[in-house]
Each structure stands twice: as structure tokens, then as C-alpha cells.
């Protein structure tokens, strides 16, 4: 949820906290006006932070709770008045988000679910509130449980323990830095916010294979694949397009890069595997719709968009795409898709598992100016440590990239190649920066003397962001095993 709808997650999280807090207030405060004022303050906070629909949801639910616990009195009227003021608020404060049917539904339904927790919290809070009011607490399912709580201190302790345990588990999961960083990468890539993907990648201690695919794509879009690929030392797989060999979870992450690369059929393959494995996730459905548009199957694309249309928060986008398809069946769904169409591979190769190098080479064969294929070709050459192929690949890259300077990692690879092969490479009119040369000399010297663990650590500290260090440790890298397909 946090990856797909962070705003919603914030609203729900806030709603849960507030509902628990108000549950406690309801249990403690005896005076109706005090409860009403509390509710107004809380509603105001929710309205500003989480939007009008959550505010309305909170007021509605707290009114119901008030009514069920204390009867239909002034406090309920006060809250309903607040509910009536929301449209006015929306009118004069245009910065507040417009409520949609779905978001209102969620804004109401989730607090209703939370409402069931209130008796537990109230009982866990111990005293407070009137016994008469507690008699009125007849919320289904938990009413009997509530009766037990009222009459047993053990039950109250148990309730406290339960709240603490559940809260602790929730906190643990929500504060898991690793998961959060990987989830953010997923989310921001979906939003095409590539710089933010890179930010999130830096925060993760260790990237798994799907995260690495996302990282590579973000690096490419930021023009940093040749500059910063090896600075992300938290990579574990260092690999492009692993197919299903590193687990089915990786399929979803490969859809977008394969699509952009021009390998439409392999993108379709990964999308269908992901759809089966991950279910009908909105991003997968959208990818399948886009793939079918590219494959000149607009009716099939509409099937996926229609499924998407029925999903919360995706309805508007799906309707818009459907409308565009309706107007012009051959029209591409978005601007990005035009690039995918240009790069689309048109030659047929039959394969079972195609190595990344072949996937990239075929894309370049179809479109020699395929920018992504060019950068991925170079990066793939470096990641595989295939220095023998470097001159050929570099020549291809350089002829298509007229006028551009050599990215840092490519410079590092060239220097290493020249150092190992004792032969100069044709740089096609470009030159290596002096700083890189000087650093390479330092590296060569350090490698020669890095015999003990302290020297090794020093080498890592100074050069771990370089291709040289990657190459040096390539043989000793043992990637942890992934989930097998």
C-alpha cells in the first residue's frame, strides 16, 4: 500500500492513530462538550494534513461512535455540523484535495474498521466513562468481548498487551528501512521520478535483483549509467535481464526496461509471468495494455484497461486511456510509448532463455541509434567483466554517441583494458580525463600491495565506487541465491 498509494497510506495511518486516540478520549472524557471540542480539533488536523475526505470520514465515524456510546446528543449535532461545513471549507480552501467517491469510501470504511478497536482501547485504558455509557456500547462482534474486558483485569491486561504487540509489529514493519527504501524505488520508478529512485537506492543497505533492475533504469534515464553504476555498492546481483532465473519477483521489474529497450515480446512474457505471480497489480495491467497497443491489439489493451478501471484510485487514468483508445485505436497511450515503438525489435529469434547480451544486441541491430541499448550494452559489458569485447562495444557506442565525453566507468574500463592487454584502445577522438588516469595509477599501486585484510579494506574504502574494484572482486563475488522459479 505504501508503494502504490503513499498518500492513502498516510491518511490511513493518521486515521488509525487518531481513531485510537479518540477512542481513548471517548473512554476518558465524561463531558459531551469536551468530547465535541476534541473531535473538532482532531477533525481540523485531519482536514489540513490528510484532506477533506478523511476529515469527513473521521467526523462521520466519530459521530456514530458518540451516538452509539453516549446517545444522540449535542456532541453528535456538533460533529454533524462540522460535516456540513466541509463543502464550504473546500470552496474557500482550494488547496485541499478534491474528494472522490473512492477516496471518500476508503476514508469512511477504514475508520469504521478502526471503530471496532475502540472498545478494546477503551477497556485497555481502564477507568473513565460512565458505566451507563458502557452499557450502550453494543458494537457487533466485540460487544461480548467487551463485556469480558469490563469484568476482568486479566482481560484488560491482555488487551493492553495485544495493543502493544500489534503496535510493535506494525511499527517494526513500518520502520523497516530496507523494505521502505526498496518499496520507494518501486513507487518512484512507477511515477517516472528517476532521481528519487536513486535517492531511495542510496538508503538501502542491500538491493535485491528487482531493485537493481529499477536502479539501472533510473540511472539510464538520469544519464548516469556510465558514471555511477558502480557507486551503488549495495547491489548484489549486478545483472541485467535475468528473466526468471533469479525468481519470479524479478519479472515485474523487467517489464519496463525491456519495453523501453524494444524487446516487446520479452516484456510481454515478463508481464504475464508477473501478472500470474503478483496478481492484477495496476502497474502490470497498465504495462499489458501498453504492450497490446504496441502489438496492434487495441481490443486486448481495452480488456486490461477495463480491469484497471474497476480498481480503486486507477479508475480516472484508465478511463482517460480508454477514451484515447476509443478516439483513435492506433493511438499510443502516452508519449513514452512512442519511443518503445521506435525501438521495437522487428526481427524474429526463437529462444528459451535469451542472455542479456543478445537481447541488447538484437535491439541495437533493429535500431542502431537505440540510446538505451547503447548504454545497456556498455554497462552489460562492464558488469559481465568481458573486457575482451570492450573495444568492439566501445567503437559501436562512440560512433553512435558523437560529441559526447566518455563516462567515468567507461574510462575506467578502457584504462584497465589497456593496462591488462598492454595495448592502446582507439578512443575515436576522445580522451581519458587526467584525474581518472591518476586514480587508476593509485589503484594499480594499491592492488599490488593489498595483501593483508587491512590493505584490502583500504582498497575497498578508496575504490569501491569504481569499475576497477568491481572487476578486481568479480571472481570472488558470490551473490546470495534468489528464489528459484
Amino acid at each position: 500500500l505504501a508503494t502504490r498509494a503513499p498518500e492513502l497510506a498516510l491518511r490511513i495511518g493518521l486515521g488509525v492513530l487518531v481513531a485510537l486516540g479518540v477512542g481513548w478520549c471517548v473512554a476518558r472524557l465524561a463531558h459531551a462538550v469536551a468530547r465535541g471540542i476534541t473531535a473538532w480539533v482532531v477533525a481540523g488536523v485531519i482536514g489540513v494534513v490528510a484532506g477533506a475526505e478523511s476529515c469527513a470520514g473521521f467526523i462521520l465515524v466519530s459521530s456514530v461512535v458518540e451516538w452509539r456510546v453516549f446517545g444522540f446528543g449535542r456532541s453528535v449535532w456538533l460533529r454533524l455540523l462540522a460535516l456540513a461545513l466541509i463543502p464550504v471549507l473546500l470552496h474557500f480552501l482550494p488547496g485541499l484535495p478534491e474528494p472522490s467517491f473512492l477516496s471518500v469510501s476508503v476514508g469512511v470504511l477504514i475508520p469504521v474498521g478502526v471503530m471496532y478497536l475502540i472498545p478494546v482501547v477503551g477497556c485497555a485504558a481502564g477507568s473513565g466513562g460512565r458505566d451507563q455509557s458502557r452499557e450502550n456500547l453494543r458494537i457487533p462482534v466485540l460487544s461480548q468481548l467487551n463485556f469480558a474486558f469490563r469484568h476482568s483485569w486479566k482481560a484488560q491486561m491482555l488487551a493492553w498487551a495485544g495493543v502493544l504487540v500489534i503496535g510493535g509489529i506494525g511499527a517494526w514493519f513500518s520502520l523497516d528501512r530496507e523494505r521502505r527504501a526498496l518499496a520507494r524505488m518501486d513507487y518512484w520508478l512507477d511515477q517516472r521520478e528517476y532521481a528519487r529512485v536513486l535517492d531511495a537506492a542510496r538508503q538501502a543497505r542491500r538491493l535485491d535483483y528487482p531493485a537493481e533492475e529499477r536502479l539501472h533504469l533510473a540511472l539510464y534515464h538520469c544519464g548516469l549509467l556510465g558514471e555511477s553504476l558502480f557507486t551503488y555498492t549495495n547491489q548484489t546481483r549486478w545483472q541485467f535481464f535475468a528473466g526468471m532465473t533469479l525468481g519470479l519477483e524479478g519479472c515485474r521489474a523487467q517489464i519496463q526496461p525491456l519495453l523501453e529497450l524494444g524487446q516487446l515480446n520479452e516484456a510481454e512474457h515478463m508481464a504475464h509471468e508477473a501478472c500470474e505471480w503478483n496478481g492484477d497489480r495496476p502497474d502490470i495491467l497498465l504495462a499489458l495494455a501498453r504492450i497490446n497497443v504496441l502489438k496492434d491489439r487495441p481490443v486486448a489493451a481495452r480488456v486490461y484497461l477495463n480491469v484497471l478501471r474497476k480498481m480503486p484510485f486507477r479508475s480516472a487514468g484508465a478511463r482517460e486511456a480508454l477514451s484515447r483508445l476509443e478516439q483513435k485505436p492506433g493511438l499510443l497511450l502516452d508519449r513514452d510509448l512512442a519511443g518503445c515503438a521506435t525501438n521495437r525489435v522487428r526481427s524474429d529469434l526463437a529462444y528459451n532463455k535469451m542472455p542479456s547480451e543478445l537481447l541488447i544486441r538484437q535491439a541495437l541491430h533493429s535500431n542502431p541509434r537505440n540510446s538505451m541499448a547503447l548504454e545497456y550494452m556498455m554497462a552489460d559489458c562492464l558488469l559481465s567483466g568481458s573486457l575482451d569485447k570492450l573495444p568492439e562495444k566501445y567503437a559501436q557506442w562512440a560512433s553512435a554517441r558523437e560529441g559526447s565525453t566518455i563516462p567515468r566507468h567507461y574510462e575506467e574500463a578502457i584504462l584497465l583494458y589497456e593496462g591488462l592487454k598492454k595495448t592502446a584502445m582507439d578512443l575515436k577522438g576522445r580522451s581519458i580525463q587526467p584525474g581518472t588516469r591518476a586514480r587508476f595509477e593509485r589503484f594499480a599501486k594499491a592492488v599490488g600491495s593489498a595483501l593483508d585484510s587491512e590493505s584490502q579494506n583500504g582498497l575497498r574504502r578508496e575504490f569501491s565506487d569504481s569499475f576497477w574494484y568491481y572487476y578486481y572482486t568479480l571472481a570472488t563475488r558470490k551473490a546470495p541465491s534468489g528464489k528459484s522459479s
Binding site: 512474457h269 501478472c275 505471480w277 502489438k295 481490443v299 477495463n306 480491469v307 524474429d348 526463437a350
Partner: protein, 513 residues
């Protein structure tokens, strides 16, 4: 003309007068009252396309959506006998009441069914369209359709199920869903004996112990048969089950249809249920040929099958199957010599999925550019051979997408087949009427309660099979037979070792759609 007028002046005058009067009457009637249809008749666009079709008298209502803009819609269904069904509504989705539909259609078997559609525009004027005329066939279709539902799968399957659909209503129930027998299991090759549901078989796949058991249902008792079998076909006696043993692998293309299937080695075997023995007749397991897609003739005197020379994967586009048949005598257990029916050398195409009509008259099969898996070939079309004249022809009911997985109704008057014609990706079941002259009529898609059903259903209908009646064993019984079987049969292999014994699925193995 002058001569004619001079010769028949009174007749001409009368004709002209009548014509003018008729036109005036039409105009007068059209404008007689508010709300009555007006305008030039033109055929309305319907989704699904249920216009100009022949349909069985026992099928569920053919619900559709009128693809014409308007604020109100009127549809009248009328025939020779009985009161018409009149529907007037603001929505374009026409969902015909089941009871009224049944009454009208069953009372008019063999008669045309007319559908008058009119749409009211924003100005409040009704626009009438040309009457749609469909034909209600005299002959009913088998009451149930069995199929597998799955997404367009590749290597992995999480949700696969085999279902039965009552064709007389919209009710669909599960025969077995794979989550009942453990995740990532595949279900396939549901095959009924003589279109009856008391005896049938289906296969399971994805078990890691090497054996992919078959479920055998006889008299509502489910038995697990621990033997990996491929495509199945019942001998009409119910004593034999022909099967193929294939080494299939799924592979991919970088352009065109993504998926493809290659059969490296195959043969046909016979499972004798009465003795629980598997035999491999030599004539069906030639070392220099790959035999597959077995299909018994309805009288059990011939076994039809596809056969091709083995080739390496690199030459997969050169693999073309012939269709042959071999005679068989059940009493003496004697096989004849193979007889060529469809020669790939002559057609230049690959012939698979032979199915003989229950009356023994027609052989229905697929022809595609190459290979053994027509559903992945957009070039796959349905062909028919008249077994008396041996003349074959391509059917007019084909589309520019894959048409395959066909089957006959018990009375040989209906066929069902899977086709990707609607969108190029999802296979949908279509029916076609076969008249006494052997003409196949315009096909129509399986009706659904919601006319927009196929527009948001991302699953494919695979291997549709018609049968007379529902399956009576429960899903729980089926699942129990897999997981905690009360009865297990492990067939003995008789004679020499099988030419290509069925092996555990290799990586990449799929028997998808």
C-alpha cells in the same frame, strides 16, 4: 415504356397509385404518434455480434449492447409463435429475461427470430433500425460446455481451473481449481466419453515427484491414475483411452506471437482401462515419426492422429504434421495400416487436432503454417473434410486470428471452437451451426449475462468441450482424489518399453492453452 403504358394504362396507373399510397401510408404511420420509430432503417451495431446467426433453441439469452448513441432503447424479440418480448429502457445493454427468452425460443425452434431495435435520440425522436433476423435451429446443442480458464500463461501458473457452464443459463461452476490441489499445479485435457459426463478424464501437472496423475471419473467415482498422459481421446466403448506422450517445450519469439511450442519427441499409447495396462502399438510409435493428437472415430473403428518427421528446434518452422488414421478392431485388438488423409506435402501446412463428427461424416481439423500447437499460430484455421468424398475445404467461419480447439455437439449439428478473433490475445468460445448440407453458419460467442463481459475478462477459454449434462462429482471429491486418493491405479506397461516414456516436465515445459 410508352408502348407499355399504351398497352396497360390502367395497370400502370394502378401500380403508381398503389406505390404512392404505400409511401404515404408509411410516412403517415411513422409520424402518427410521438415515440414511434422514424428514420431510414439501417442495421444497428451490436456487441457481441448476434446478427444473422443461427442459434440453438436451448441456449441462454443472447444478451447484447446496442452500440448506437441514444437516450432510450427499445428491443422487441418476436417470432412465429408466442408473445414477443419487448424491452424498453434507458441503458443500451439488453439483458433478456431468461424465462421469457426460453418460452419464446423453444416455442419457435426452426423459425426465425426477429429483433426490432429503435433508439431515441437527444431530440426525443425514435430511430428504427433494420430488423435483425436470426434463425433458431431445430436441433439443440449439448447442455453443458466445459473449458479451462486461465490467463495468457507462460511458464508459471497460479490460477487455473476447469469449469462447466450450463448453456441454458449463465451458471458456471468449477469442476476443479488448481488451488484445491496445491498451488502451481496445472489442469488440462478434460475429455468426456461419448459426450456424457458419467465417465471422463482430466490431467494434472506440476507435481514434483515425476508422476503427473490423471483423474478418472467413472460412475461418479474418482480414481487417481498415476501415469503421465498427454492429449486424450476415449474409445466409444469406454474401455480404451488413447493418449499422446510428448516432450513439449515452450519457447519464445522476439517478434510476432510471443509463445510457441515445440514437440521434440512423441508417440501415441493406449491405456486399457479394463486391464489397467498401457500399450504402445508400433504403428502409433514409429521411430522416425512423431505422432500426437489422437482422436477416436465415433464408431471406434479408426484412430485419427497427427504425425510429422522429427526435426531439431532450429527447424521448428519446417515442422508440418500430416493427419492419418489407422483402423482398429476392438474385439481382436488388431491395428491396420496408417492411411494418409491430410498430407502436409500437399497442403504445405501443418494439420492437427482432428475431430470426427459423431455422425462420422466430417473430419474437422486445424491447418497452420507449422508446428503442433495451433492456438499460438495466428495462421491457424479450421478445415473440414467430408469423409465420404475425401474433399477438404477451409471453413468460412475462420478469422484472421487463431481458430482452434474445436469440438462437436452430440448431434453433429454444432461445433464449438476457441478463437482469438475478438482481440487477438484471449481465446473465446464460439459456436457454429452445421446444417444438413454441411454448411457452417456464422459463428457467435458464448452468451454471457453481462454483454460487456468479454471486454473486461482477462482470461482465455481453453479447450472447450460440449457434453450432455452436468458433472456430478464435486470439486472436493476431485481434489481428494489427487491429495488423499481412496483408489490409485498405476498402469502396467505392456510389451516393449515405451518409445518415448513420459518424463517429468523439463524446464520450460508448458501445456498452456
Amino acid at each position: 415504356m410508352n408502348a407499355l403504358i399504351h398497352r396497360f394504362p390502367s395497370g400502370v396507373v394502378a401500380l403508381v397509385t398503389l406505390t404512392v399510397l404505400a409511401m404515404l401510408a408509411c410516412l403517415s404511420a411513422a409520424g402518427a404518434s410521438e415515440g414511434a420509430p422514424t428514420g431510414v432503417p439501417a442495421p444497428p451495431k451490436l456487441t457481441p455480434d448476434y446478427a444473422g446467426i443461427t442459434f440453438p433453441p436451448n441456449i441462454a439469452p443472447l444478451n447484447f449492447r446496442i452500440e448506437e448513441p441514444g437516450g432510450a432503447y427499445r428491443a422487441t424479440f418476436r417470432s412465429t409463435f408466442g408473445a414477443p418480448i419487448v424491452m424498453s429502457q434507458s441503458r443500451p445493454e439488453i439483458q433478456i429475461p431468461l424465462k421469457a427468452w426460453r418460452g419464446l425460443v423453444r416455442a419457435n425452434a426452426g423459425q426465425p427470430l426477429y429483433c426490432d431495435i429503435s433508439v431515441r435520440d437527444a431530440a426525443g425522436t425514435w430511430r428504427a433500425f433494420a430488423t435483425i433476423t436470426n434463425q433458431i435451429a431445430r436441433e439443440p446443442i449439448d447442455t453443458h460446455l466445459y473449458y479451462r480458464l486461465l490467463k495468457p500463461l507462460y511458464n508459471n501458473y497460479v490460477h487455473v481451473g476447469i469449469y462447466q457452464r450450463d448453456l441454458e443459463s449463465f451458471q458456471q461452476t468449477a469442476i476443479l481449481e488448481n488451488d484445491k490441489i496445491g498451488s502451481s499445479k496445472c489442469l488440462n485435457c478434460h475429455t468426456f466419453l461419448n459426450h456424457q459426463t458419467r465417465q471422463f478424464a482430466l490431467h494434472t501437472r506440476g507435481f514434483t515427484n515425476g508422476v503427473q496423475p490423471m483423474l478418472l471419473v467413472q460412475s461418479n467415482t474418482v480414481t487417481r491414475v498415476d501415469k503421465t498422459l498427454g492429449y486424450l481421446s476415449w474409445h466409444p466403448s469406454g474401455r480404451l483411452l488413447a493418449f499422446s506422450a510428448n516432450r513439449l517445450s515452450l519457447f519464445f519469439h522476439t517478434d510476432g506471437e510471443t509463445r510457441d511450442v515445440f514437440d521434440a519427441k512423441s508417440h501415441i499409447g493406449i491405456y486399457r482401462l479394463d486391464s489397467n495396462v498401457v500399450v504402445t502399438p508400433k504403428v502409433l510409435a514409429l521411430t522416425h515419426r512423431n505422432e500426437t493428437w489422437p482422436s477416436w472415430a465415433p464408431d471406434g473403428r479408426f484412430l485419427y492422429f497427427s504425425s510429422a518427421n522429427p526435426r531439431p528446434l532450429e527447424d521448428h518452422r519446417k515442422v508440418r504434421y500430416d493427419i492419418l488414421r489407422v483402423s482398429y478392431d476392438l474385439e481382436s485388438d488388431q491395428w491396420g495400416e496408417p492411411e494418409m488423409l491430410i498430407s502436409s506435402e500437399k497442403t504445405g501446412l501443418s494439420a492437427t487436432e482432428s475431430r470426427v463428427s459423431p455422425d462420422g461424416r466430417f473430419l474437422l481439423f486445424c491447418l497452420a503454417k507449422y508446428g503442433n500447437f495451433p492456438i499460438y499460430q495466428t495462421s491457424s484455421d479450421l478445415y473440414v473434410m467430408d469423409l465420404q468424398t475425401r474433399v477438404m475445404r477451409r471453413l468460412d467461419i475462420n478469422s484472421d486470428q487463431a481458430d482452434s480447439w474445436h469440438g462437436w455437439a452430440m448431434n453433429s449439428r454444432w461445433i464449438v471452437f476457441s478463437t482469438k478473433r475478438l482481440d487477438g490475445l484471449f481465446a473465446r468460445p464460439f459456436f457454429s451451426y452445421v446444417d444438413a448440407a454441411g454448411q457452417f453458419h456464422k459463428p457467435f460467442v458464448l452468451p454471457q449475462e453481462d454483454p460487456a463481459f468479454y471486454e473486461s475478462f482477462p482470461k482465455t477459454f481453453n479447450a472447450p468441450e460440449l457434453a450432455c449434462g452436468p458433472v456430478h462429482v464435486t470439486e472436493e471429491q476431485m481434489a481428494e482424489a489427487v491429495l488423499r486418493p481412496g483408489r490409485i491405479l498405476t498402469p502396467k506397461v505392456d510389451g516393449p518399453a515405451e518409445a518415448h516414456p513420459a518424463t517429468p516436465d523439463p524446464p520450460g515445459y508448458r501445456q498452456a492453452e
